[in-house]
Subunit: 598 residues, 2 copies
């Protein structure tokens, strides 16, 4: 049977000790984030994840969602009850504004908690996850009336949300989309078209589903400049704002897919459905990007979530599976064989995942904190600096953490040998579920292009320069601390590779953008390594300080942090040189062959 | 709809031009391997793969195998008919001895053909694949009577074979196995026990199933020294050698698993089933390793097979999918968007897979040729030298090609975006099928341990020294050929890393074997990179020679070889430095934490 235990202590170490969240008490909603309060909330979330969401994860995969002949969709057994408990606990609205029924707590805290929830049951958490995106878009671009009408219901989870972008012929390139909007004359529109891959598109857990749909108003310009965003509720609302008449939107099919079987991925048909413009006409992409950016951070975190639960199961199996003997002589001589965790190669596997997960958790929370600062600080300079880093990190977090999420789910599965390939241990599900996160909300190749094509040059490179300075200063400040020098030395080397690769782009990709495209994925991972290395160096520094201050209660935990940090610097950081070397080969070899030569 | 076209020209280039198979006409069975004959056979195989096996691959995945209440198992629709055509074509016995009904042709040719068959339908090809292993074991260890009784039926495919090693508590560590054999007094034994993960364990395509079963004869020594191998036919044979009375062996369940749904992976229950000892009492592992080594090469090839078919589909999709514009301006201005193959990052993805596939094909055929020489040459020195390389390459071929098989199936799937995640394009199947090859026939961590723990030191390092010399000599001989120097320079650098890492093991792992274990997986991949690089250098040399000789018919193909070789040397070979750096960090950091710290 699969196991899961939320890593509460690690989350608290990062929030309290590494990031020093208490220092941010001046931000809106941060006043109550004392260590005690954080621990109380996070432990409560852990309990829900472990005891309610996780037990129905494997069964949810096995049962999947079912579409009935009338187009209605049933979710797996237990999902509705678990979803209700999640909503009743106020988890959906944890960081939402109080005026719409939320708790107004930090987004950082929401993120900490969301990691656990997605570890426990990614498919189920996608339903409220999509709702979060809808809330964000309506908050930023909705009219006051739209906010009052939709937000309270979405925040309490009585209604859920969706994002409708993709059409059969159009995914990344939204300029090609064909869905149409025709004005009714009363301010509403008739929306028609087919959307595919719509997560949570139809289900039986909510009283209403609020579809946010990209469509083209009749006569709008071609391409992305003619796209608008519409609210299309499954049930139109009556005068009192309650769901009433059924709208002309329906689920035509559920996709048969590799994983996330517990989430209903729908083909949605809009047949002159009534929709309401949100934000400005033809500026739908701006509104959609509010959802998208939020969603990209959440998806990056899914990579961590799955890698974490897969890791825990692999570590547990490695401790329990008795097979063969240690290379250096029996370690459990009283037994017929040693547990396989005696083997260096099994430990290498586990420590690789652990090193990415712990740094990934820090990376995710650090980025979430930037988001809080960017949205809640009253100091404009601070807001801007945080927003710069947030924008820069979004594609890296999404791309790197989800690539690693799959890679590490596969590594964890490998520890189980043949038992990992059959479905009953759940390892196959983690791999199959993790796979989607590399694809949706912008495939990782698109994240890499966003990074090198937009984020690097944004505001004259202000964000990337600030980040280089922050990491460089950290190395410099701790250069003479011999307890830290092995970490900062390795980090500095990684940073040098990153800076050199960045310089190479500046010199070689301006005139020839293919040179940026050819190195984009390597660059994204190179950047990720440096940021994760920075997280490890900061965690190591904190751990050293705590140990030096004589902290005994967490001594083993803190020493283990140092060992894992050492592993990351020894084994993982040297990859930056390889990434840089690949980038510097440029695009010529790649672009030489005709399309037909592939 | 998925597509597949067997890469006949590439196979012929490798066999005829790179490996010069005609030079081996003195080996038994090689007399007929003229270019014309090879082309005829290989083209016929391609036709069967493309037209018969491939069309039922996706449907086979969707239908899976079904166990009925009486323990019988049905294979997917069309499998039996396709299997019959495969057998009727003589493909199963292509390389088997003529005296048992085979065609006695080279194993190298069998391997070339098997790549196509597994690309087209891996699940279906596992049934005859397991039979090949049974044939090999009986050929080497069976009595004359056993050979006469079983081989002709296995070679023609009327009966199929299985390998029964794994038990619920015992996989890698066969010393733990509990299945029992009790002598009947007439030379036969009563076999009892439960075996799991038995591929092709029960099905409705053959008249009989010949199970090769590891069990412990009552009173045998503990551990691996007390294991014997038995033939346990599903139906016992009557006096004329025809299947008659049902034996007490039955399929208790079919495993629900991630992929290879078309193959019946069975729990097999032996309940005092009649079995016949094969080979020597308590020497069962020797006999099993004959099957295992053969199977490891076949599984390594499955990695190539899946990566190839996944690649072809991704390349095809990239040419057809219209989405977005080239970074350097529209390439298809008459259309609404460019095909995504204009993007450097898509090309990087495709070329990475292509570079591994083409070198992997050469690696596989080169190794298969070593097997032919080792078994068929009349020159003992030549036999031994070939057997050395074969033994050394077996874990590398299995481990590297299957790790890359999954990695590249995932990369190919990524080209499809969301369409790769749904089942209808078949990309999910390739990923799910490829995953098993990293696990079965010895998980890849075991391959890496076999390499560093046994194969390196075998005969005082004779094999590895010979290989280093061969690659080093190649670099030296072509050092001054400026058309080749960029290839040989990169290869030489990789070889240096491999030699340094080998030296590091000699100095650091003798006294402390954990240092070998800690670097084993990196070493296996480092070795793989060098061998694949060697294949690329040889292919580039051949291509240069052909082009210099004015060969025009294949000019585009040959130039493309050179481009792909350049890509491999530029982008892939530099990974050797990273692998070496990791190896040289040793085991200390890994071994430091308690098991509970993971």
């Amino acid at each position: 049977m699969p196991i899961y235990k939320a890593p509460v202590n690690d989350t608290l170490f990062i929030l309290n000790d590494v990031l020093g969240i208490e220092r941010y008490h001046n931000l809106t909603g941060f006043a109550d984030t004392t260590p005690d309060m954080l621990e109380a909330i996070i432990s409560e979330a852990a309990k829900l994840a472990e005891e309610v969401l996780f037990p129905i994860n494997l069964s949810g995969d096995q049962q999947g969602c079912r579409r009935h002949d009338d187009g209605s969709v049933s979710v797996p057994k237990g999902f509705k009850e678990a979803y209700d408990l999640y909503c009743e606990g106020g988890w959906l609205g944890l960081a939402a504004p109080e005026e719409f029924g939320g708790q107004g707590l930090p987004y950082t805290l929401h993120t900490a908690v969301a990691e656990y929830m997605s570890s426990a049951n990614m498919s189920l958490m996608m339903y409220p996850g999509l709702t979060q995106g809808a809330i964000a878009a309506i908050l930023v671009h909705g009219s006051e009336e739209q906010k009052r009408t939709y937000l309270p219901k979405l925040v309490e989870g009585t209604w859920t949300g969706t994002m409708n972008l993709t059409e059969p012929h159009c995914g990344t390139d939204l300029g090609l989309l064909r869905s149409k909007a025709v004005p009714n004359g009363d301010g509403s529109y008739k929306i028609s078209g087919q959307k595919i891959f719509i997560s949570a598109g139809e289900h039986d857990m909510a009283e209403n589903i609020i579809h946010l749909v990209l469509a083209r108003i009749e006569g709008a310009p071609e391409g992305v400049k003619g796209i608008s965003l519409f609210i299309v509720p499954k049930f139109k609302l009556d005068a009192s704002g309650e769901p009433a008449e059924r709208n002309n939107v329906s689920c035509g099919a559920i996709e048969r897919k590799m994983g996330i079987h517990g989430n209903s991925t729908c083909v949605m048909n809009y047949d002159e459905a009534t929709g309401y413009l949100i934000g400005t006409e033809n500026k739908g992409l701006n509104a959609m990007f509010v959802m998208m950016n939020e969603a990209r951070l959440a998806v990056g975190m899914q990579g961590l979530s799955i890698a974490e639960v897969a890791y825990q199961n692999a570590a547990n199996y490695a401790r329990e599976r008795i097979q063969g003997r240690s290379l250096s002589g029996p370690k459990a001589p009283d037994k017929k064989a040693d547990p396989i965790i005696v083997h260096p190669d099994v430990r290498r596997t586990l420590m690789t995942i652990k090193a990415f997960n712990e740094a990934g958790r820090a990376f995710t929370l650090w980025t979430a904190l930037k988001s809080d600062i960017a949205h809640r600080s009253d100091n404009e300079e601070e807001r801007q600096a945080a927003d710069d880093i947030l924008s820069l990190m979004t594609p890296i977090l999404k791309g790197v953490m989800t690539d690693k999420g799959l890679e590490h789910a596969v590594m964890a599965q490998q520890v189980f040998g043949g038992h990992g390939y059959i479905e009953e241990h759940g390892m196959s599900q983690y791999v199959r579920d993790a796979r989607i996160a590399m694809i949706y909300e912008g495939a990782n190749g698109i994240q890499a292009l966003d990074l090198v094509g937009r984020k690097l040059a944004m505001n004259g490179g202000r964000a990337v320069m600030a980040l280089f300075k922050e990491v460089g200063d950290f190395c410099e400040e701790n250069r003479n601390d011999e307890r830290l020098s092995s970490y900062t030395k390795a980090l500095k080397k990684g940073l040098n590779d990153l800076q050199a690769a960045t310089m190479w782009f500046m010199q070689n990709a301006m005139a020839k953008p293919d040179n940026a495209g050819a190195g984009s994925t390597d660059y994204m991972h190179l950047f990720g390594l440096v940021v994760l290395g920075y997280m490890w160096a900061r965690m190591a520094k904190t751990a050293q300080e705590k140990l030096a201050a004589g902290e005994t209660a967490r001594a083993d935990y803190l020493k283990n942090k140092l060992t894992t940090a050492t592993f990351f610097m020894e084994r993982i950081m040297p990859e930056t040189a390889l990434r840089r070397a690949r980038i510097e080969t440029g695009a010529d070899t790649l672009m030489a062959p005709d399309a037909g030569a592939f």
